[in-house]
């Protein structure tokens, strides 16, 4: 099971917000969490999602349970993530979609 806890930075993998960065704000039960982009930054609305539709990253924000969008943004501003959130609101996945032989290897990057 992925580690999805409050403050965890995730990427949505399903739906119209797929590929966008978001932050977990609350854990509702073992299947659902409350997330937010916040919308002004990454376009992800404050909403309930199935954890199966999230891909967790190793990044975590220092926010309290049920933090507002403003609080999340403030927490983001404290870290280096703010610009990353603004710039890479949606992860570019073109390189991953290429066939294996055309992809740059991990060694070279």
């Amino acid at each position: 099971m992925p580690v999805v806890d409050v403050g965890r930075v995730c990427v949505k993998t399903r739906g119209r917000e797929a590929g966008r960065l978001c932050v977990v704000v609350d854990v509702i039960d073992k299947n659902f969490v409350l997330i937010t982009g916040p919308k002004t930054l990454t376009g992800v609305r404050r909403r309930r999602v199935n954890v199966r539709h999230l891909e967790p990253t190793d990044l975590k924000l220092d926010i309290s349970k049920g933090a507002s969008d403003k609080e999340v943004e403030a927490a983001l501003r404290k870290t280096k993530l703010y610009t990353a959130f603004k710039r890479a609101a949606r992860l570019p996945i073109e390189d991953v979609l290429k066939p294996a032989h055309e992809r740059p290897s991990l060694e070279s990057t």
Binding site: T13, R14, A18, L91, I93, D95, L106, E107
Partner: protein, 135 residues
């Protein structure tokens, strides 16, 4: 006007005004749109001939998702997950996982050793005063 006909075209029986049943020919339906990666059928995309695609609105030919109408949701999900893991790898654990060359390994070993020696020296310098203070 004489209708174009072909054995492979779909035949539809139509009752004409005179009461006779005539056979009309309909163009074949193209294959359903498919995922570019795995070939699964895509839902929500009309199964029409190319000129018709040109005529209908963009919103009718896509689904509201990145790569909607091109990739199936499963392939998109795997691609995104792969990308996320790639990014995590490249920023966090990459150095541990990267196969290092012989030279690089040797260099790293020497560096580690040097660090160890330095730490030992530092400790050796610091210990006598602390012992003295204790005594």
């Amino acid at each position: 006007m004489v209708q174009k006909r072909s054995r492979s075209w779909r035949r539809v029986k139509v009752r004409t005004p005179s009461g006779a049943v005539a056979i009309r020919y309909r163009k074949p339906k193209p294959n359903p749109p498919r995922c570019a990666k795995c070939g699964a059928e895509l839902h929500g995309i009309p199964r029409v001939r190319p000129p018709e695609l040109h005529r209908i609105a963009y919103s009718e030919k896509t689904v509201n998702r990145p790569y909607g109408g091109n990739l199936c949701p499963n392939c998109l999900e795997t691609a995104i997950k792969e990308k996320v893991r790639l990014v995590v790898l490249s920023e966090g654990m990459r150095t541990d996982l990267r196969r290092r060359s012989r030279k690089a390994r040797k260099k790293a070993r020497r560096k580690r050793q040097r660090k160890k020696e330095e730490a030992a020296e530092k400790e050796a310098e610091e210990t006598p005063p602390s012992n003295a203070s204790k005594a």
